[in-house]
Symmetry: C2
Subunit: 166 residues, 2 copies
Amino acid sequence: MNSVPKPALGSETSWREDFAVGDKDAVVIVDHGSRRQESNLMLNDFVEMFRAKTSYSIVEAAHMELAEPTIKDAFGKCVQQGASRVIVSPYFLSPGRHWKQDIPALAAEASKEHSNIPYIVTAPLGLHELMVDIMNDRIKYCLRHVAGDVDECTVCAGTGKCRLYS
Amino acid sequence: MNSVPKPALGSETSWREDFAVGDKDAVVIVDHGSRRQESNLMLNDFVEMFRAKTSYSIVEAAHMELAEPTIKDAFGKCVQQGASRVIVSPYFLSPGRHWKQDIPALAAEASKEHSNIPYIVTAPLGLHELMVDIMNDRIKYCLRHVAGDVDECTVCAGTGKCRLYS
């Protein structure tokens, strides 16, 4: 991939409501999955943030492998809750093999039991203009911490890791 | 990790300039590194976006493993360009082993040759409020595409992958 996906946030504010989320659109947020339980639990935190900040009425977490719920589990839960369309959203930075092959294959498999429910696999998160803001925000927060102005963020809290080394 | 790192974007707009980027602050943006060259090249695109949107005068790409430039290469390049502090920023979503151990160890190793240059390893990108906006933006763009309103984004361009399946 040589070019940057269109961020075009400004222009998106003028989208017609037709393209807005439908009441029966469900979102399955899929991360890689880990043997580390704390990593799997982190996805639940993201799902909570996503639910709180958006208007989707059905949002489910799923792990691509190594942990449950699987994509199939989550797809089924969405249908049970009345989804008429399932949006599979990979919590991945880059369009690697997992995004190109593994997640589409698992979504296809999951949809077999619900052939009347269309689904889509969305683009990965990286190379979005806002990702620059996130990184810059992390940097500024860390610099504020080492300057003594703020506590460690919750990622570093209690580890003593957020400091200047030399 | 059970809680969400403080996003506090609103309050950050009031940061004193003391915590702003110094002229001699360098940023090393580190991804995992891949055997797939296109994946490594994608980091360069992100570094370009980061340079264009921020005020850091020295920004270098690095790969944790599997590809060059290494963290040591990038750290050295920053010092050559006059960096007085190096900010190592992991292009990772979660605070897993790579963030906790591998990148700090590689940064420490890299800094041995530049003992007068302090460095810091910043927090990972995930669980930031803006990540919700990024995911929602991806979803909306895909839905607009399947509704026939916009072209495929550059991630999907030419693949025919961005469509409703059932």
